[in-house]
Each structure stands twice: as structure tokens, then as C-alpha cells.
Symmetry: C2
Subunit: 232 residues, 2 copies
DNA sequence: TCGTCAGACTTACAGTGTAAACTTACGTTG
DNA sequence: CAACGTAAGTTTACACTGTAAGTCTGACGA
């Protein structure tokens, strides 16, 4: 006779449930508040039970990263390389906005998971199929991803989210410090950042297009030099 | 008569000594190993004594960030905006290489210090004096710094530093995983990353020039539209 | 000589990740 | 059905973290 008579069978723990719950907690409370004990509690389980499904906390974090990478739209084969990578970059940025902790975690996460590898494979493939040489692909990849991750990082570093918060922040900031010690910063803040409608995030698309256009120019130049056919 | 007869007077603690020692420890052992107790020990002092000079650990980290920012070359007035910002970007990257922990810390460090403010003031001033509008300055700033910080971040995320390490790493990596599951990644790794002379860091300058050239093009276009004089 | 006080030290506490040992429930096998 | 192995949970314990609160010390001014 089982001991837990009448008790509803507890939902079984598994790696996926651990990971998705961890992601939710990190989204809600920030990664620094995600502890093994809190995560266990949320799952109705003691902290140590989690170690049946993750090797240690770093493994948990790695798993979280790979899981959120699955949310990123892969570059489509049917689009041109530029729109394909434009879409996936926008999608990547949205993911990084949803999971603000992910960007900071990717340094320490040395070993990429399956979703991450697939993602990179497809991005590289997109460049290659568009006629980018290996060297040019490396170059393009470095520039594009540096921009996307760097932008996300800067966006998160800003201590305000809404326009109103920015305004309030800016007022305090200005009153305290700048007037003539930092004249350009002063002008920039009052004349631009504090203007209605400002949002750092709006700079993402223009910057992305700048990068993509520049890469296209370089590729065309390379193709021309290499002597490949060029429609015209 | 003093009790510590004959004892060499202990060098007095002060904020600067605390900060520079903390920076050295973080450089040597990584930021995650920098604890108040270790820092105290290094300074010949108990952990709690540090709190006479820093408000708490976050204040310590903020102070470290602002201190290393002083190492970054400010854009020079005598150079053209492009070379001025090129130099400061290279200098910024070198700083981020020396202090690998700095990049990751800048998210949490909400309140910028004096050196950081001065830095941004000068960068903004460089754009403004080169005829960039406020909006264009915001755009340029976002793109340029996203690139620099993003590149540094990616460089640090790579789990190898030297070419030999990369090769060793790549071999294991390839043997284990890729062959036909990730064909493009496979080709890219064997055909480029594992080639002699490869180093991710070498992509920095080409990418930086791509960004700067593209910004120059956009500025010229803007100036033309605005109807300002253009030397010809 | 005393009082003041800054800057150091001591102690203590709640919280962290996780090793090691345990308990329990269930499926397989004799 | 009994015995056992195993997977998945719990309990306990430990070393280490940041830091609050209280104490000690030595130099200096009155």
C-alpha cells in the first residue's frame, strides 16, 4: 500500500520544468535573486532535489540560455540574406529584452547548447549562401552580433524604462551635476534625451540598417574584385 | 608612549588604495573571486575596515569602473572627428581587454562617476563639433558604442585566448559534435577559425572602420540635405 | 590629563551553493 | 509475494558571502 494515500500525485520534476521555471523567476525578479532554494520552493521541492536534473548552478544557467535561444527566429531561406538577418536580429533583440539576464550570462556560459549551435550554423549559412567568403563571413558576423548584443547591453544599462522615468531621472541628474562642467552632455540631455518621444530603443533599427547596408556594400566590392558575375 | 613601538607605521588606507588594489585583484583572479575579505587581506586589514572608505560592495564596484575609465584616451580636439573617435575606441577596447570584468559590471553600475561623465561629454562634443545634429549624434553614439562594447563582450565570451588554445578547443569541439548536424559551423571552424593566424580580435579594427565610414556617409548625406556648405 | 573621534578590529547573522548521507516509492525479477 | 535496485526526493552540514552592530586603539586638541 502506498504511503501517500489520497495525496494527489506530485507533478514530476524534469529538466525542462526546472529550466522554464528558472527562466520565469529570473524574468520576474532578476537573475541575482534566482537561488536554488527559491527555485526549489517555486517548484514545491527542496533545493537539493534540483540537482537530480541539473549538474550545478552553472549548468542551470547554461540550460536557461540555450532554452531562450530557441525563441529566436532563425534566418529564413526564402528571404534575401539581408532581410533574413534583419528579421533574426530584431527577433534576437526582442528575446534579449524579454530576458534581460541572458545577455550578461553569455560570457560565463562557455559551452553553447544545441539551440545556440543551430542558431549560429544558420546565420553563418545565410552569409555563405549569399556569396560571402569565409573571411568576409567572419567579419560580418563579428560586426553584426557585436552591434546587436552591444545595443541590448547599453539599453539595459540605462536606469529607466519609460519616457516618464527618463524625464524624472534626467531632471535630477541635470540639477545635480552638469550645467557647465559637462556642457555637451547637458545640451544632449536637455535638447534630445528629455524631449518628448525619446527612447534609446528606437535607435536599434536605424543602427541595424546601417550595419547591414555597410556589409552589403563591402560584399559587393569583394564580389566585384573577385570577378564574379554581377547582374546589371 | 605609543603601543606600537618600533612597528613601522602601517600605510594608511584610503579610497584610492582600496580601489586600485581591488582592480588589480579583479584583473588577476577575476571579479567573482574579489571578496571583501580577500581585498582586506591584500591590504593588510580586516574586511570591515574597508567600509570606512566605500559605502558597500556596489559602491566599490562603481568606483572601480570609474577608475578604469580614466585610462581611456579622450577624443582629441586636434584630430578629425573620425580619427579622434577611432583612437578613443581603440583605447576603450584596450581598457576593456585589460579589465575584462569592467564590461560586465557596467550594467549594474547605474550611477556613472566623474571620469565616465567626462568621457561621454567629450565624445558627444566630438560629434557635435563635427556638425552632427543632436539626433544624428544620438544615432552615431548608439551605433559606435554598441559595437565597441559588444565586440569586447564577444571576445571575452570566447573560451580561448591564444591561437593554440583555439586550435585545441576547436578539435575537441569538432570531433564531438558537428560533422553534418551543423555543416556551416563545421566549414567555418575548420576552414577559418582553425587556420593559422586566426584571432577574433583582429576583426575589431575592420569592424570599427566599417562603422565609422558608414557614419561619415550618413553625416555627409545629412549635411547635404540640410543645405550646409560642402567643400568640393 | 582628559575627551573626542576616525579608523581599525571582533563578533554575529542571514543567506549562498552544494557534498554526503538518508529516506521513500516504484518497477523488475526470483 | 518478497526482495532488491534505482531514481528522485529530503535532511543535515559546511565553507563562504556581504555587512550590521559593537568594541578597541591611538593620535590630537584643549
Amino acid at each position: 500500500m502506498p504511503a501517500n494515500t489520497g495525496a494527489e500525485a506530485r507533478i514530476k520534476l524534469n529538466r525542462e520544468r526546472v529550466l522554464t521555471t528558472a527562466i520565469r523567476l529570473a524574468d520576474e525578479n532578476g537573475i541575482e535573486r534566482l537561488t536554488m532554494r527559491k527555485l526549489g520552493e517555486e517548484l514545491g521541492v527542496e533545493a537539493m532535489s534540483l540537482y537530480n536534473h541539473v549538474a550545478n548552478k552553472t549548468d542551470l544557467l547554461n540550460g536557461m540560455i540555450d532554452t531562450v535561444f530557441e525563441e529566436v527566429e532563425l534566418p529564413s531561406h526564402s528571404d534575401s540574406w539581408k532581410t533574413a538577418l534583419r528579421k533574426r536580429s530584431l527577433s534576437l533583440r526582442e528575446m534579449l529584452k524579454r530576458h534581460t539576464w541572458a545577455n550578461g550570462l553569455m560570457d560565463s556560459a562557455a559551452t553553447p547548447g544545441a539551440a545556440t549551435l543551430r542558431h549560429h550554423d544558420r546565420v553563418i549559412g545565410t552569409f555563405r549562401n549569399a556569396g560571402f567568403s569565409l573571411a568576409m563571413t567572419a567579419h560580418a558576423l563579428a560586426v553584426l552580433d557585436s552591434y546587436v548584443y552591444g545595443f541590448a547591453k547599453q539599453d539595459q544599462a540605462l536606469p529607466f524604462d519609460t519616457e516618464e522615468e527618463a524625464a524624472a531621472m534626467g531632471q535630477v541628474f541635470l540639477a545635480h551635476l552638469l550645467p557647465d562642467q559637462y556642457p555637451y552632455l547637458h545640451e544632449f540631455t536637455t535638447g534630445h534625451v528629455l524631449q518628448p518621444g525619446y527612447s534609446f530603443g528606437k535607435e536599434f533599427v536605424p543602427g541595424l540598417d546601417l550595419v547591414l547596408d555597410a556589409l552589403e556594400q563591402e560584399r559587393d566590392a569583394e564580389v566585384k574584385v573577385t570577378g564574379e558575375a554581377r547582374a546589371g
